[in-house]
């Protein structure tokens, strides 16, 4: 199912916007701690699925949007997302033939790396956030990855 590049840009941008909305949507406090990084997962999906169209540019732009919305130092999420999207792109041929479990584990590693870069920049810029809950997001993200990726490829096929 080969498609030309511009045709892929629209679903890419739309899914990123939806994920951005999901990541700032107000949730009741008990559920809030379990919110996965939707936008990061979507960027990973596109880095694996069609790195040439979106890839790093999408990762950088999404990261910048997160920086502005979360009000942290500009470039923090952009750096973390770019690094991890590049890693995902590098791994993508292997990821495609992995079993669900191995895929989820790889995504877990990528998400943890993402959180680690954020954590490090938080500390370097003097705003350390040391709550344990920040390391919960990678676990949740890895758990919902099969669902999310399945859903996205289903929708993308239409």
């Amino acid at each position: 199912m080969m498609r030309d590049e511009p045709a892929r840009r629209l679903p890419m941008a739309l899914s990123a916007l939806v994920a951005l909305a999901l990541s700032v949507m107000p949730l009741p406090a008990p559920v809030d701690a379990f919110r996965p990084d939707f936008l990061v997962l979507v960027v990973f999906y596109w880095s694996i699925e069609s790195p040439r169209t979106g890839g790093l540019a999408l990762a950088f732009a999404s990261g910048l949007a997160l920086d502005v919305i979360r009000g942290v130092v500009l470039g923090q999420h952009a750096l973390a997302l770019t690094l991890m999207a590049a890693w995902a792109t590098n791994l993508r041929l292997r990821l495609r033939v992995f079993s669900v479990l191995s895929q989820s584990l790889t995504i877990f590693a990528l998400l943890t790396g993402y959180q680690f870069v954020l954590f490090w920049i938080d500390g370097a810029t003097g705003n350390p956030v040391t709550t344990f809950s920040r390391w919960l997001a990678p676990v949740i993200g890895a758990c919902i990855w099969p669902l999310l990726a399945g859903l996205m490829s289903r929708v993308d096929d239409r």
Binding site: M1, M25, P26, G63, A65, G75, A86, V100, Q103
Partner: protein, 318 residues
């Protein structure tokens, strides 16, 4: 197994490393310029306008639901609300009767002491946007920005008391850091005896703490904390919270004091931005500690609590 159908294969992502390095350098450059040199204010302002549609799109369904619930609420509910509000208004009016006279008297006394701390001349109401901007920090987004004259460090109140201060200003929106944020500190005074100290956030919206009070300090549960006006950020005399617990461990030199914030940090929908009068600002920006009003009844206090307001200035301790 997730099916990836794309036919893009490895040969096509040549230059991945190069592009990755370029984007990372760009991001690092942004971080350094934003943090170290603070040159990116305009870029951030522009970007913050770009994301406003997303923020409005997310917040509006929730606001729409509130509106819907309000419009279909029953007559009985409305009558009950009306009765409650009338009772509150009556009470507020009783309290206000002497206010004018007291305000004038306070102004006269302040003029005598050449101290205009806590005089504010302008208020603007802002609505809190229903967004969760950061799971780990206590911040909210308010729909007033640079266009309305909001500035960084500005005091923000709600109907109960001090809510927080402005941390970042966009063109149309601004980010307010709550008094309960773990990095926020505010100079306060105990209303009963004038003891000055600093209230620090805990990261929990229902609690603040006073970490700089010695075990011998004269504080008890139920004491009201008000802003002291030191540091120049906040107008003086607004309620910050009520002390709910004091733990004195003889082995420690400092007491553990817990405070319940006066503002409804987790429930407020509307907040108020405050502008101090220029004279008040001038007085407050260079406050010699000796000229600070020092109630005669103030008990001896540790050096720490006297020195701390000057160091911390009530700003987020970044």
């Amino acid at each position: 197994m997730v099916a990836f159908r794309s036919t893009e294969t490895s040969g096509r992502t040549t230059g991945l490393l190069l592009r990755c390095v370029l984007y990372c350098l760009l991001a690092l450059g942004l971080i350094i310029f934003d943090k170290r040199y603070d040159h990116l204010g305009d870029l951030r302002r522009f970007l913050s306008v770009v994301v406003v549609p997303v923020q409005i799109a997310v917040a509006s369904p929730f606001q729409g639901w509130d509106w819907f619930r309000e419009s279909v609420s029953s007559r009985e509910t409305l009558r009950a609300d009306k009765a409650k509000l009338e009772a509150e208004l009556r009470l507020a009016n009783f309290r206000l009767q002497r206010y004018e006279a007291l305000e004038a008297e306070s102004q006269r006394l302040r003029a005598l002491r050449e101290n205009t701390a806590g005089v504010s001349n302008r208020f603007v109401i802002g609505n809190i946007m229903d967004l969760d901007i950061d799971a780990f920090r206590e911040r909210v987004l308010v729909d007033k920005g640079a266009r309305d004259g909001v500035f960084v460090g500005q005091a923000v109140l709600d109907s109960g008391g001090v809510f927080g201060q402005v941390a970042r200003v966009g063109e149309l929106t601004s980010e307010v850091i709550l008094v309960s944020d773990g990095t926020h500190a505010i100079p306060v005074q105990i209303n009963r005896n004038g003891l000055r100290t600093i209230a620090v956030g805990t990261g929990d919206m229902t609690r603040l703490k006073l970490p700089y009070l010695s075990t011998s300090a004269d504080v008890t549960a139920g004491d009201l904390l008000v802003t002291s006006g030191l540091g120049g950020g906040f107008p003086a005399g607004y309620p910050v919270g009520t002390i709910i617990g004091v733990k004195r461990d003889p082995a420690q030199s400092l007491a553990e004091v817990e405070v319940r914030p006066a503002a409804a940090l987790d429930r407020s929908r509307e907040v108020m931005f405050v502008w101090l009068t220029p004279e008040a600002r001038a007085t407050l920006s260079a406050p010699p500690p000796a000229s600070v009003p020092q109630p005669a009844a103030a008990p001896p206090q540790g050096r720490r609590s006297a020195a701390a307001p000057a160091q911390q200035n009530g700003a987020p301790t970044k």
